[in-house]
């Protein structure tokens, strides 16, 4: 999964899987595309760093810190990782 050719659906699935591991008490599959993941799942800065780390490891796509705000929603994650 190192190509940028992943589609939005694959990326959301990947992100939801990672979030389920980080916040197992929550159900990330109910997240809306525009919902702030951090607020909806009570994700703190450590959780968010783990989220970015896992996205980076599993897609191979570099994610500089200044781009973090683009990953605050599932829709944003899908756009960012699909290269939009």
């Amino acid at each position: 999964m190192t190509s940028r050719a992943m589609n939005a659906e694959d990326i959301c699935k990947l992100a939801i899987g990672i979030l389920s591991d980080i916040a197992p008490e929550t159900d990330p599959s109910t997240l809306g595309g525009d919902e702030d993941i951090r607020e909806a799942l009570d994700i703190d800065s450590m959780d968010f760093l783990n989220f970015v780390t896992a996205l980076n490891k599993q897609t191979g796509i570099p994610i500089p810190e200044e781009d973090y705000p683009r990953l605050f929603t599932l829709g944003g994650v899908a756009d960012y990782l699909s290269g939009k």
């Binding site: 970015v52 896992a54 810190e65």
Partner: protein
């Protein structure tokens, strides 16, 4: 011959359940070995032994709940012959310690790490880390999650790894136990524990409070530069700068690092900082990060990540529950601007950090917007006076302006 007893893992613990024995009679154990998993209201804690010898007998069965101080196992020291001890069991049970010790006597010589010779290959320390979701799913599927190859953060076993694993063989009786051992904490019990510890703190400790405002822009600039050159798994959070500055400030102001014991302040030479972690299911836990003043900034981040992950998945060790000499509570993002902490007895101080917010600040005679954090100190007035607390806070503030050299 010595006894291995149900430890007190904090001021608020009265009893614990032996969830799993990790040794059998006849096993050779060393200082620092994890020999049992104990369920407490704070979740499953891996309990270490601080003696050396051969396990002679296990006196409490898995699943049994006993008061703090109850003898759980007997240990024969090297060279001792095994003696018959069975009749002592009942007697030991009838004599729990009348009042659980706050905390074991300070043991500065404790081995910080498990002995290089593991008790047996399946000791928890050797098993792969497993995310709670993965663990639950593994239990459902009857798979031992500890044996899987992890592809997650820090090599931990993820939900996907469990789904991908081949099904467990039939006629296996182990799985139900995995669920029992690895279940999370009990929020109701944890609430009771917090209530007991905090009530005691407010009843017994005359707190005094001080606060100061710190400009975070030098720290943030330093972090930005450090993190820009690194992959996400090596990046730092502001938390490590708080931990570092607090540890170095405690070196300069040691009057706040230690315990109130027997009507006197007992300073601690080591600086082990309890880091308050809020749990998503409700509740709070503040395991110790050991020797914060001696860790490099990268090692400190690693230690913080590790302890937060284990606090949330139930893999903390008994020493981490009792070793903290000082505590930090940091509210993190999207929270309040300041916090007045409550000291965790028998410690004598707690540092509170609010959310970082952009506010007007005067620098070089001009009002400029700056990211600011409110740092507050609650300290035990029996152990120190406001002057000492003020010294600590101003030292902390100064150290936050001098970020570490990478």
């Amino acid at each position: 011959m010595s006894d291995f007893t149900m430890p007190s893992l904090g001021a608020d613990m009265e009893s614990g359940t032996v969830a799993e024995w990790l040794v059998k009679p006849g096993a050779q154990v060393h200082k620092g070995d994890v020999i049992a998993v104990v369920e407490t209201h704070k979740g499953a804690i891996e309990v270490e032994i601080f003696d050396e010898g051969v396990i002679e007998e296990l006196l409490v069965e898995e699943g049994e709940e006993v008061p703090v101080g109850t003898v759980l196992a007997r240990l024969a020291k090297a060279g001792e012959a095994a003696a018959p001890v069975a009749p002592v069991v009942e007697e030991a049970r009838r004599e729990p310690e009348p009042e659980p010790e706050l905390r074991p006597e300070p043991q500065p010589t404790r081995a910080p790490a498990p002995s290089p010779e593991p008790v047996r290959t399946t000791a928890p320390g050797d098993r792969a880390k497993v995310s709670p979701a993965a663990r639950r799913r593994a239990a459902e599927r009857g798979i031992d999650s500890g044996t899987l190859h992890g592809t997650g953060i820090d090599g931990s076993v993820t939900l996907a790894d469990v789904e991908a694993a081949p099904p467990a063989p039939q006629h296996q009786e182990a799985p139900p136990k995995a669920t029992k051992v690895r279940r999370g904490f009990d929020p109701v019990q944890m609430r009771k524990g917090i209530a007991a510890a905090m009530s005691r703190s407010k009843r017994e400790i005359p707190h005094y409070y001080l606060a100061t405002t710190i400009d975070m822009s030098p720290a943030q600039a330093w972090l930005r530069e450090y993190n820009a050159a690194r992959d996400p798994d090596e990046r730092l959070l502001p938390a490590v700068l708080y931990l570092r500055a607090a540890a170095l400030a405690l070196k300069e102001v040691p009057q706040l690092n230690g315990f109130w014991e027997k009507d006197a302040f007992a300073p601690s030479a080591a600086i082990h900082i309890g880091w308050a972690i809020s749990l998503r299911g409700g509740g709070l836990i503040a395991p110790a990060i050991r020797d914060v003043d001696k860790l490099s900034i990268a090692d400190l981040m690693h230690a913080l990540k590790d302890v937060v992950a284990r606090a949330r998945s139930g893999g903390l060790r008994s020493s981490e529950m009792t070793d903290a000499t000082f505590t930090i509570t940091s509210l993190g993002e999207r929270s309040a601007e300041s916090v007045g902490g409550i000291i965790y007895p028998p410690q004598v101080a707690i540092l509170g950090l609010g959310s970082v917010v952009e506010r007007p600040w005067v620098a070089d005679g001009a009002v400029v917007p700056r990211p600011l954090v409110q740092a507050s100190l609650a300290a035990d007035h029996r152990a120190s006076d406001g002057h000492v607390g003020g010294l600590f806070l101003s030292t902390f503030a100064r150290l936050m302006q001098e970020p570490p050299k990478p």
